[in-house]
């Protein structure tokens, strides 16, 4: 039997194979095409992911999602040796995984300790690094090889939640630009947003690490059209503090909106999100219904939003069509009971060359229409002197 014939035979022996290899069948590429296989498969997968990104978000097509997820799992299993080892240890391979829920997730912390990538890290076009958390001295690295795909994953969901009426609007950004912070995934995302949805007045208002409040106030006061303010939550706190100190109030044109992201951890001042939105209404005239919270992470390529700007329904994060989210028990890693609290586990198709299945350290709970974010999993209450063994072990061979 020739190799090709053997493959064909195998394909027909396995009833699950038809479904999983739909992409290959459709484009006519077979499993065993030597050197071309990786590239052609990767291209097929990209096409498939793009199809999911642009799918109708109101009717998530689980069959197509599953097909794409399984193809991507097979690709990542093949090209990421550490991931293959993890799968082997828990006995999952592309041969016995039938549904995206069975794809073994990689913990986000792995991005700190190893290169989670399906291609040589040296060829990456961009590397996103986490902004540095409390516990680890190491920062996670997310290697990107296809910036077009990364941008494609950002825009539809952003538009749907923040500019649902379509068109462009002035976007004022409270983060440094991507040119200033090339390793920030947030800066990259907002750069992409400005290019796709912003008008000429749009701009970044943090330069050389400093918030340019005066320039922002002038820009806001001069605007005759509804504006979109975006940035990190703590930057808004900082900005609002300045407005209060100088007793400045601005009534922005109706339809103006705000998107904030991230927590207040490690920052000098902590306010609740409700308080932040109250200040926003008070100081800028943007109603709470027009304030949208974004949840994203440098290890992911897609983002979540907790409402559509202007919509008065209750808040909940809902995954875009290229993502599925599960809430897992931290110990058993099985899905939690309805309304139970657990770790968020995302299956993000746009993470094509890193880890599609990602187990986060974020606690969440299902609510009506999506999930609710309950913050970081608490750090251990360890006792005694090996307590800070942590830091000591650094550098041990």
């Amino acid at each position: 039997m020739t190799q090709q014939a053997f493959e064909y035979w195998k394909q027909n022996q396995d009833p699950r194979r038809g479904c999983r290899h739909a992409i290959d069948n459709r484009t006519g590429s077979l499993d065993n095409e030597g050197g071309f296989r990786g590239t052609s498969r990767a291209m097929d997968i990209t096409a498939c992911i793009l199809q999911q990104i642009n799918a109708d978000h109101r009717q998530p097509a689980d069959v197509e999602f599953n097909r794409a997820a399984l193809a991507l799992f097979e690709y990542q299993h093949e090209h990421c040796p550490p991931y293959r080892r993890l799968c082997a240890q828990i006995g999952r391979t592309p041969l016995n995984v039938l549904h995206w829920r069975e794809i073994p997730p990689i913990p986000v912390t792995a991005y700190k300790w190893m290169e989670v990538t399906c291609r040589p890290a040296a060829q990456a076009l961009r590397v996103f690094r986490s902004s540095g958390t409390t516990r680890e001295a190491y920062r996670s690295r997310h290697f990107l090889f296809d910036l077009e795909l990364a941008k494609a994953a950002i825009i539809p969901a952003f538009r749907r939640h923040l500019v649902p009426e379509g068109g462009r609007m002035p976007v004022f950004i409270l983060t440094p630009s991507a040119a200033e912070m090339p390793d920030s995934s947030l800066a990259f995302m907002l750069d992409t947003v400005v290019n796709a949805l912003g008008t000429a007045e749009s701009g970044f208002f943090i330069r050389n690490g400093k918030l340019e409040s005066a320039r922002l106030v002038t820009a806001l006061k001069e605007s005759r059209r509804p504006v979109l303010l975006v940035g990190a939550s703590f930057s808004f706190v900082h900005f609002f503090d300045g407005l209060m100190d100088e007793r400045v109030r601005i009534q922005l044109p109706a339809g103006s909106r705000l998107m904030d992201t991230g927590g207040f951890k490690g920052k000098s001042k902590t306010v609740s999100r409700a308080e932040l939105y109250r200040l926003c209404e008070d100081l800028l005239g943007i109603a709470e219904a027009f304030c949208v919270n974004e949840y994203g992470m440098s290890e992911m390529s897609s983002q979540f939003y907790d409402k559509v700007a202007g919509d008065t329904s209750s808040r909940a994060f809902f995954p875009p069509p290229q993502v599925r989210t599960e809430i897992l028990d931290p110990i058993s890693l099985l899905p939690v009971q309805e309304k139970g609290t657990g770790l968020l586990c995302h299956f993000d198709l746009a993470n094509r060359d890193s880890a599609m299945a990602l187990l986060t350290e974020d606690l969440g709970r299902w609510t009506d229409g999506g999930f609710e974010l309950l913050g970081r999993a608490p750090e251990a209450q360890v006792k005694g002197c090996s307590l800070l063994i942590d830091a000591l072990l650094q550098g041990a061979p």
């Binding site: 080892r85 993890l86 190893m114 360890v382 005694g384 002197c385 090996s386 072990l393 650094q394 061979p397």
Partner: protein, 448 residues
């Protein structure tokens, strides 16, 4: 349960309130700067009397207390045995074993051995004595030592109090927040035997870092000895008056080295003893075992043997590590490196075959086993751990020992011992590489 005191102040009645610690009701006073000042001054007033007391009689009395505590029916020992497990989180076996070890080492012969190790002539503590060159000199302990304890090991506070008595230094002890009682119970039994000696020591609990209380204590003390984590130590040293002598015992850990010819069950059993004794919380607890390749068995085998022996020593039912999320995440990261994991009795043994650096945020009760080509080349690679390593446990044939010991001793460690003995250091051990008594005295030379 009868009330336990969370403080000891001799000859003074204090208003106390009751607090609950791990379900144990404790009586404690409100500690404020005036109280600390009053107690400190009262202790300092005892210095002269204590300095004039013969060393021999101090050793005798400590020995008598230890003899009582070694009797399992002694009421104070029974109270300690009952309340220490819930307070510390250690098992009854661990607590009983630790108490036995502690009081066996605080007997007359080992106390005398310690004194003669530290002072070529211990009688310099009693009066002016001739040195070997014929000069006269005398040693005095500080007129007040402030002792600040952390709670990782059972008995550290008692040992520290005994050391202070041996150099005849009155002592104010701030016990660990989780476990303030053992030192108090020990002082109560010292007071039964010798109230005069017990009146040179006091225990007052306050929350670590309480600035006004600690400032008062610093102002009164002539020397500060502190055990604690890195953050607590650096916080203290930042606030100390510049000329106050300070000995800090910060966090350290230990490792085990297993030669290729010693990958066997007896070695694993001894290693398991070192791991389980204080639940890996002490500075003598081994966190990593380096196992040599090229023997009859692969290093991975040692991981399996170790896990099996730990299961024997520690019955199932011990709670898993509190940090389940971290554990779960790191489990996967280790698996991605190709590691093998054994989880039993609340402990996890990991064999990590990669050459990558150790994942620094390991949860509690995770022991790492790693393979090395040649033990002799390992010390070179351990250099980044200088300052963090306390001791090395060895399982290696006698003829290979000398060159290895030679290289290990340059790593800034304070002890090299056979695997299985890590948790039973002799009283004479130079913890953190220092003298325990002689480092803390002042010398007065007499001429003419």
């Amino acid at each position: 349960m009868k009330h336990l005191n969370g403080f000891y102040v001799p000859n003074r009645i204090l208003a106390t309130g009751e607090i609950l610690r791990s379900g144990i009701p404790l009586r404690v006073p409100q500690v404020d700067p005036p109280l600390v000042q009053e107690v400190s001054r009262m202790l300092k007033a005892r210095h002269r009397g204590l300095a004039g007391r013969p060393l021999e009689s101090i050793v005798e009395q400590i020995d008598r207390v230890s003899a009582r505590w070694l009797d399992p029916h002694y009421p104070l020992r029974r109270r300690a045995g009952k309340s220490l497990p819930p307070l510390t989180g250690f098992s009854i076996e661990t607590v009983e074993g630790a108490l036995n070890n502690l009081f066996r080492s605080l007997r007359k012969p080992s106390l005398q051995r310690l004194l003669s190790e530290e002072f070529s002539n211990p009688f310099v503590l009693d009066g002016f004595s001739p040195t070997k060159n014929g000069a006269l000199t005398r040693a005095f302990g500080p007129c007040l030592t402030l002792l600040i304890l952390s709670g990782n090991i059972v008995g550290a506070a008692v040992e520290a109090l005994v050391f202070s008595l041996l150099i005849k230094s009155p002592c104010l002890l701030k016990p660990a927040q989780d476990e303030p009682i053992l030192s108090v119970l020990w002082l109560e039994s010292l007071a039964e035997i010798d109230p005069n000696l017990a009146s040179c020591l006091a225990v007052l609990p306050w929350r670590g870092g309480e600035v006004s209380v600690e400032e008062t204590a610093f102002a009164e003390a002539e020397s500060v000895v502190a055990y604690g984590n890195a953050a607590a130590i650096s916080d203290l040293s930042a606030r100390l008056p510049p000329n106050l002598p300070f000995s800090a015992f910060g966090p350290r850990f230990s490792v085990g080295l297993i030669a290729r010819e010693r990958i066997d069950t007896p070695t694993a059993a001894r290693a398991a003893r070192d791991v389980t004794r204080f639940e890996m919380r002490g500075c003598l607890s081994p966190q990593i075992f380096y196992v040599e390749k090229g023997g009859k068995y692969a290093p991975e085998t040692f991981g399996a043997l170790l896990s099996e022996q730990m299961k024997r020593l520690q019955p199932e039912g011990l709670l898993p590590s509190e940090d389940a999320v971290l554990a779960q995440q790191l489990r996967s990261v280790y698996l991605m490196r190709g590691a093998t994991l054994w989880s039993q009795a609340g402990h996890t043994v990991i064999f990590d075959p990669s050459e990558e650096p150790v994942l620094s945020s390991s949860p509690e009760r995770w022991v790492l086993v790693r393979g090395v080509e040649d033990l002799l080349s390992l010390p070179e690679r351990l250099h980044p751990l200088r300052g963090a390593l306390q001791a090395v446990g060895l399982a290696v044939d006698a003829k290979r020992r000398p060159p290895l010991v030679e290289r290990l001793s340059l790593l800034g460690i304070s002890r090299i011992c056979p695997i299985g003995n890590l948790q039973e250091p002799p009283l004479t051990w130079h913890q953190d590489g220092r003298l325990r008594l002689a480092d803390r005295v002042r010398w007065v030379d007499l001429e003419g």
